[in-house]
């Protein structure tokens, strides 16, 4: 039976999550050098096209058709049997359920790009993201949401700690290793070019996350209300603790640190949103800052150019959130299960299985997948192309074009070459 109130909220939530993709594009674009602004943003835009199509073709079906242990069936391929009647176990039309889940696949695919920006070529990224959205995201989504083995053995994952956060974070690590570091990494300071974009992007992400977490109860019921409120509380606590860590380390509170903290807090509460009390959500927010801050500080000292710290912000925070449920899930709030702190040790075991299985699969599958794509086409361009910047090389545009010295090319010259064009002035 379709409930109109639930459906209305899920329609809004779906749009909110879609806005996160553009927020993420802005967040990422601000963190790179100005010559790579558009390319970085376009990788997120690419996910909007590619992951939506793969999700409609097979991804949704593989994730949500049937409850086989490893992978779903193909009965819902190309939206077959996905209509106006409610999806089993929910009070919203199957079509809305499909669209909401599609936005999760899109944002997760876009997240992975953070590991390879500023050097990966655009064409192989399109191929990689198409395959990744099916072979990694859809599989993990089936395990955690679609009735797969993790869900069967009792893992609680409210809004995607397994497929979205650990899926993207540990895939990002693999992608950074396969693609390799930027040519100037470790030699020159490679600084964010616009901290305002970074903060604005983080703000849009937080805003959209109310749909991401608040919609993951597929209703306007208690779980959704709890997750919605926790999405406010947790990142606020992460922010404050991040401020204090910044102060302790360098006597100054940084803006880009604040933007990072917002994301880390939102990620931390993603798996736990509908399962823990608001007070424990605040504790989660404060504690999740610690491991993520440590990894953010440590990673640039390694030779791994996981450029925008997807592992630290998503992989580690997602891992932390999944484990936190095992301790502090509370049946009086979620009506499902208690955690170890309230006497249910089994729940902690179920969470630990997920926290080990998801990273291993995401890392291994992405590593192999990207090696295969790399065997078919070069993953990155020459050092010269990298020096000029991805925007001009791959898109023929600049983010901050001045127009000075730009001559109009008349249509009748018919020049298609794109390099040397005779022009009447």
């Amino acid at each position: 039976m379709v409930d109109t109130g639930d459906t209305a909220w899920m329609l809004v939530s779906t749009a909110l999550v879609l806005l996160m993709v553009i927020g993420l594009g802005l967040f990422y674009a601000g963190l790179v050098r100005s010559k790579n602004t558009l390319n970085t943003f376009m990788m997120c835009v690419a996910a909007l096209a590619v992951a939506t199509i793969t999700w409609a073709l097979v991804g949704y079906s593989l994730a949500f058709d049937g409850d086989a242990k490893i992978i779903g069936g193909l009965d819902h391929a190309l939206l077959n049997g996905v209509g106006f009647e409610p999806r089993d176990g929910t009070t919203i039309p199957h079509l809305v359920f499909f669209a909401f889940q599609a936005t999760f696949c899109i944002i997760t695919t876009a997240l992975v790009s953070g590991a390879v920006v500023e050097r990966m070529r655009f064409a192989p990224f399109l191929v990689f993201s198409a395959l990744w959205s099916v072979l990694v995201y859809a599989v993990l989504a089936h395990w955690a949401f679609g009735g797969g083995w993790l869900q069967q053995q009792g893992t609680l994952d409210f809004a995607g700690g397994v497929p979205v956060e650990m899926g993207s974070g540990f895939s990002a690590l693999a992608a950074a290793l396969v693609v390799g570091a930027r040519k100037d990494y470790g030699r020159q300071a490679l600084l964010p070019h616009n901290a305002v974009y970074v903060l604005l992007g983080a703000g849009l992400l937080w805003f959209g996350w109310f749909g991401f977490n608040g919609g993951s109860g597929f209703s306007t019921g208690n779980a959704s209300v709890l997750a919605f409120t926790n999405t406010l509380l947790t990142p606020a606590c992460t922010l404050l603790v991040w401020f204090l860590l910044d102060l302790a380390r360098g006597r100054q509170v940084t803006a880009i640190g604040a933007a990072t903290a917002i994301v880390v807090g939102c990620v931390g509460i993603t798996p736990a949103g509908g399962f823990i009390s608001p007070a424990w959500a605040m504790v989660l927010g404060a504690l999740v800052a610690l491991p993520c801050y440590a990894v953010v500080m440590w990673r640039p000292r390694t030779r791994v150019d996981e450029t925008l710290d997807v592992l630290a912000a998503h992989g580690v925070a997602g891992f932390f959130g999944i484990i936190f449920i095992g301790f502090f899930a509370s049946e009086s709030w979620n009506g499902v299960a208690d955690g170890a702190a309230f006497g249910n040790l089994d729940q902690l075991g179920s969470q630990m299985v997920a926290a080990l299985a998801a990273p291993v699969y995401a890392f291994a599958a992405t590593y192999v997948l990207l090696k295969l794509v790399g065997a078919l086409m070069p993953l990155r361009g020459s050092a010269t192309e990298e020096a000029i910047g991805m925007d001009i090389i791959h898109h023929g545009e600049e983010a901050y074009a001045t127009g000075e010295g730009a001559l109009l090319i008349r249509a009748e010259t018919g020049a298609e070459d794109g390099r040397k064009v005779p022009v009447e002035v």
Binding site: R187, A387, E397, L408, I409
Partner: protein, 117 residues
Amino acid sequence: MKLVIGIVRPDKVNDVLEALYRAEVRGFSLSRVQGHGGELDRVETYRGTRVQMGLSEKARFEIAVSEDFVDATIDALCEGAQTGEVGDGKIFVVPLERVVRIRTGESDRGAVTPVLK
């Protein structure tokens, strides 16, 4: 004394800085300029508008040096800025009539010699 002006690729600025540092050339000014030096033009497209970008971004070093340092400075600029592709830039060396260090009023050779403490 000479004023050495080096026009180089913006992405080679860090390499030039390193080379100048190694050559012990410590005083210079750096500005961002746009120019054209005979390289192929780049075409960009913005919706229906296609444009030929006649100017490219360059970085301009201005380095005032005493005679002993002229060759070392030119070598450092070449070493840091060269890629071998069209568009590496130019070096102009022009005579310098007078140099004054504002803080002390020292002039000429005394003014272009870095203060080492």
